[in-house]
Amino acid sequence: MTDLEPVAPAQPVMPAWEYAPAPESKDIVRLEDRYGLFIAGEFVEPKSGRWFPTIDPSNETVLAEVAEAGEEDVDVAVTAARSAYVTAWRDLPGSERAKYLYRIARALQERAREFAVLESMNGGKPIKESRDVDLPLAAAHFFYYAGWADKLEYAFPAMKPTPLGVAGQVIPWNFPLLMAAWKLAPALAAGNTTVLKPAETTPLTALLLGEVIQQAELPPGVVNILTGAGATGASLVGHPDVDKVAFTGSTEVGKQIRRAVAGTSKHLTLELGGKAANIVFEDAPIDQAVEGVVNGIFFNQGHVCCAGSRLLVQEPVFEELLEKLKVRLGTLRVGDPLDKNTDVGAINSRAQLEKIGELVASGVEEGAVMYQPPCELPERGFWFAPTLFTGVSQSHRIAREEIFGPVLSILTFRTPEEAVEKANNTPYGLSAGIWTEKGSRILWMAERMRAGVVWANTFNRFDPASPFGGYKESGFGREGGRHGLEPYVRLEPVS
């Protein structure tokens, strides 16, 4: 111990290191000027004759034009899917279907960087999220369900599963490729063919997936991809030859779809909105909780149906947590989605930006106290600074309505019972978060949350083996795991 050097005097205050720009290159993406509809294995011109531009929301530049599928196009695609179902897919041995899905999974892994860059360009999400979350999970989803394709008879006790037929699948813009994977993988594994409609603002990775499907040599028509807006989705949902409708999106549209298919023999699953409570108890590991709260609401700009948009803090730790949250918000880097250091990217569209702005204004107007860290936002594109509200009451719109943006409403509670009451005081029921070191309290709380996914001492974790879906007005049906197969099969009792 004698040869120890004397301790060096402490350095002066650490210099504030700035992050140099670390942009991911766009060179890996080759964009066409125009993308047709992917029907029966080919990209074709729309019979509607209509096209619309798709942009990069971080700078509003047009990336490409895509076709807007009209009613006639929907009909052609559904017919292609029906034909492929009858002639190629339904009767293919599950072990063969599996290998097609494995091919897709592998191709997504091989082209992961290209997909990730394109996802960030078209959707505005930070490259580190599309690279580390969306792409690995999308590939894993195909890989997981590939394995089910030849094991379906093991999935449902005392039931014989058969495919439903043609699935019409309508997906949102927040995880464009990942939602496509969530929809396609179980449908195809179970022997259905599909017509997929990506969201209006984020069509490009779905169309690139069409290219992967060509490379995987899936029989033409097994997967068809129709770009368009709400009207295209409505035509697809309403098409009489669609056997199964799967929708992920807002509760409002979900209810419309529910009404549209009422009285028909169509099977339906809905994954809708949320207003999740993220509940922090006084004994929680506060620093971890801060990270979890930040991840819960600022992940993907808060464009997450299961976002932890209501923070419930036990009173004794409210001040401490709030201070730490404010400090942490100050370190979030908002900006270029393709910069590898970016934490919060661009808002997906102008319409969404306006919606967020309107709800935030209502929060201020109704008397909640807003905090935003000093934050320089780019001039072009759609941006919203990370935002906190304190002084929020349960009746405020920002505590009741899904904002779908980087806006956190903070409420407090005293007892676990009060936390349960407040957490469940919403028509939604998609997810919940619980932060406490007490194991028995975790299980007690988890049991009482009327929500389909409960994250304890973590948040926003996803896995293909883990069933995901809502209680109450957050929808019905599960995606992921064995449970995620059930929406895509007809079950007859084994006699």
């Binding site: 894993a140 006790p157 005392a158 039931m159 509760t251 979900g254 209810k255 419309q256 529910r258 009404r259 298919v261 009422a262 009285g263 809905l270 809708l272 028509p427 975790i442 988890a446 949350m449 929500a451 389909g452 996914v453 409960v454 994250w455 304890a456 001492n457 973590t458 974790r461 896995d463 083996a465 883990s466 069933p467 995901f468 879906g469 209680y471 109450k472 007005e473 957050s474 929808g475 019905f476 599960r478 795991g481 064995r482 449970h483 079950l491 007859e492 009792p493």
Partner: protein, 281 residues
Amino acid sequence: MSPDQRLPVRRTAKLSIGGQFPRSESGRTYEVVSADGRFLAHAARASRKDLRDAVVAARGALAGWAARTAYNRGQILYRVAEIMEGRRAQLEDELRDSGAADPADEVSRAIDRWVWYAGWADKIAQVAGGANPVAGPYFNFTLPEPTGVVGIIAPAEPSLLGLVSRIGPVIVSGNVAVAVASESSPLPGVSLAEALATSDVPGGVINVLTGSPRELVPWLAAHMDVNAIDLTGCPDDLIPEAERAAADNVKRVHRAGPAEQHLSEITAFVEFKTVWHPMGA
């Protein structure tokens, strides 16, 4: 006085709401006649208000029922079978009056169905839930939980077995039920409700209404505090409107399933909850 001189005491056929046996608040009744045209009873014709009262009673009973151990729920359902076995003469008489093909067989099957579903109570979670092998250091499991308040339109016939077949799978997982019994043959349903009241099923867990499904379906489907509806006995022409109304609070809608008695009838009325927790030393 010889037995055949004695005038039997007739039963007033009432609703069963929250463990009580009220008449319809509307004061309405309808005449129940036997298959051969004899007057049998005046059954209560439940109103919209009765339906709403039943939903309130059911909602009030939900937390307690769902919180019971699965073992306890299984015991209580089995107890229902015990009580029914003791009342089979009455049930058979009522089924015979209603023109049932084989009253003794129907009662036997109804009792056996309670026993079958009772045995599921503490097995559903193991068969329908489980641990999920996620790709990360997390413990992750999925469990079925009751959906909540379930409205049931029981089939017109078989009036007893049909009602039992709908209620059993709903309540075994911890749901509570507001059931509308067969309109043309309501008396077995009324007797079932009386059997339930003398078993250990807490008041409000199973509420049995008599009346017109045609009248009650739209209100049940539109009720914002009903979480799921079972339309097995719903007239076909009412289904589209019921499903449209069900959209208002995203109700789960169950139409007649492929199986009369199956685990799938239970899982039609559960929600799957997935819980994550990190693993670490």
